[in-house]
């Protein structure tokens, strides 16, 4: 067995051990809060749920595990507006993120390309980009709701506005810092500007552009949860808020798990795409 394999097995063992310790500590913490059952009206006790029986409102790892498993086995059920499977809610959120992100990419990459090729445009537009970039995307929400008057499109707009900046800035930077040598080679070969853009500048800047896209999709996935909490209706953000209103901490924790999982997958996909365009100097 190679040293590399040994190292990997050690890392996996440590991961599993860490998870086991964490779940154990969680379980101990929750069960330690259990006290004697309160003496109260059985109807009130039924409403209060575990707390009436002297149990903590926090679920044990086993309860969360069962909840996650029930979502995994039945992700797409639809029992009315307030009771949809987590698969449906995640699908709504992913669709919004991909739409907003896709529109932002369609605008940011060509626009960043043009700005990056011109020192003048870069200098002229940089102050506005720097001003708008740090604005929390949710601050745009009231403006979007007022002008667009459609909560669905408004949340897509918020995703659009938050994912445009990293892609725009990285595209500008990537295009502006293409090595002079490569451009000189293209010039001495009398390559047309369009061919230079696609065969030289785009591949040279692609890793930087992909990094921007990766940052953007991460931010978009962060923002969609908050946007959907605000707008309501459907989506994983709404799901979390709904579980909170139901006082289902189990539901909230399992939703956190799924949000993390989807975010990780989105990042992995763009990470793979980045590997495709990477090059060693």
């Amino acid at each position: 067995m190679s040293d590399e394999m040994k190292e990997r097995i050690k890392a996996i063992a440590a991961s599993v051990a860490f998870l086991g310790l964490f779940l154990l500590a969680w379980n101990v913490f929750v069960t330690a809060q259990n006290g004697p059952a309160a003496d109260m009206d059985p109807e009130l006790a039924a409403l209060l749920g575990p707390q009436a029986k002297g149990q903590s409102a926090l679920p044990t790892p086993g309860e969360v595990g069962a909840e996650i498993w029930s979502h995994v086995t039945n992700p797409f059920y639809d029992a009315g507006p307030n009771d949809k499977g987590i698969g449906i809610q995640l699908a709504y959120s992913i669709a919004r993120v991909l739409t907003g992100f896709g529109l932002a990419a369609l605008i940011a990459i060509p626009l960043g390309f043009l700005i990056g090729m011109s020192r003048l445009a870069e200098r002229a537009l940089n102050p506005y980009i720097q001003l708008l970039k740090p604005v929390s995307p949710l601050a745009w929400m009231p403006l979007a709701l007022y002008t667009i008057k459609d909560s669905e499109i408004s949340s897509i707009f918020v995703i659009f506005i938050c994912s445009i900046w990293p892609m725009l800035l990285n595209t500008i930077f990537g295009v502006a810092s293409v090595r002079r040598d490569y451009l000189n080679v293209a010039r001495t070969l009398e390559v047309t500007p369009l061919r230079t853009a696609f065969r030289v500048i785009l591949p040279a800047a692609a890793p930087t552009i992909l990094t921007g896209m990766r940052i953007s999709i991460g931010i978009a996935w962060l923002v969609i949860v908050a946007a959907e909490m605000l707008v309501g209706g459907t989506g994983i953000g709404y799901f979390v808020w709904n579980e909170w209103n139901n006082l289902s901490i189990t539901g909230v924790i399992s939703a956190i798990f799924f949000i993390g999982l989807v975010g990780m997958v989105l990042d992995l996909i763009l990470g793979q795409a980045a590997r495709l365009v990477a090059y060693a100097e």
Binding site: N184, T188, L189, V200
Partner: protein, 296 residues
């Protein structure tokens, strides 16, 4: 007189840059006059800072002159063109393309109408010429420094340029690799009768490769000090070049220039007449009674 056509003419070329303190301009070089004849190999020697790379960039059309002009095959050079290929100091290969891809990019630019097979055949011919057969599909990062510059040479030659311009193409390589690449370049250039202009600061490289060597004084306000005709006969090679009686006169003349005269050229000028339009031609080691200019 050498009856060959002057394919590259430098006439009164000058380049100024804004001075570092922001006031006025500094002349890097000026009043440069020399030429390169068809099939000839000319080297330009000078210290760093005399504007060698700037000069080559102007010849390539990548940079603009502040005064004077460059004529390539009778036409004023204003922008880069496919009849002048450049081998860059850093190989300047596109790292995302394979060796073949880099050469093909040039070939497709030169002959946009060619089919894939025609381009492939042209690329292969030049890959074989620089002994890179078998490395076609490697990316530059997988190639050694010498192999990268071979791809650079193949890319420049594959477009079959009238003039090959080289900016210290071997300066980043170790001595052994540099030697073998010089030998190969010499063979290729001689076999193809390729008109070539190379910038270097390596004296032995100049003696081995060049038919004539242009000596450039130190900047700012660099000038062509003189033009040295190589008195070693054609068919030079590195293994026995140094046994020729003219080798040491050539070498000493060039070292003397680089070490002393390149700095003190202005004082030297005060003591003798100098016409920048035809800088003196010298032939180190040649019998002194022979005239300066002889048919080669």
């Amino acid at each position: 007189m050498d009856a060959r056509k002057k394919i590259l003419k430098i006439e009164g070329l000058e380049r100024r840059f804004p001075a570092p303190d922001g006031k006025g301009e500094t002349q890097v070089f000026g009043d440069l006059w020399f030429d390169v004849k068809e099939g000839e190999f000319v080297c330009l020697i000078g210290h760093s800072g005399c504007g060698k790379t700037t000069l080559l960039n102007i010849m390539a059309g990548l940079d603009k002159a502040s005064g004077g002009h460059v004529l390539a095959d009778g036409f004023n050079v204003e922008k880069p063109a496919l009849d002048r290929a450049v081998i860059f100091q850093g190989h300047a290969l596109m790292p995302w393309m394979t060796a073949l891809g880099n050469i093909d990019f040039a070939v497709a630019s030169r002959w946009p109408g060619w089919s894939r097979d025609e381009r492939r055949a042209q690329c292969q011919k030049f890959i074989d010429l620089v002994h890179l057969t078998g490395s076609e599909d490697k990316k530059p990062a997988q190639l050694s420094g010498g192999m990268k510059q071979r791809v650079g040479i193949a890319r420049a030659l594959a477009i079959e340029p009238k003039i090959l311009l080289m900016d210290e193409p071997f300066s980043a390589l170790d001595a052994l690799t540099r030697g073998s690449l010089q030998d190969e370049l010499l063979g290729i250039v001689a076999a193809r009768n390729q008109t070539s202009f190379m910038i270097t600061h390596d004296i032995d490289e100049a003696i081995l490769l060049a038919d004539r060597i242009v000596l450039m004084t130190n900047g700012p306000e660099a000038r062509v000090c003189e033009i040295v005709e190589n008195t070693l006969p054609k068919g030079r090679n590195r293994s026995d070049m140094h046994t020729h009686p003219n080798y040491y006169p050539m070498r000493n003349h060039l070292i003397e220039f680089l070490v002393n005269r390149s700095k003190s050229f202005k004082q030297e000028l005060a003591a003798r007449s100098y016409d920048p339009k035809s800088p003196p031609t010298v032939r180190p080691g040649a019998p002194s009674d022979r005239p300066n200019k002889v048919a080669s």
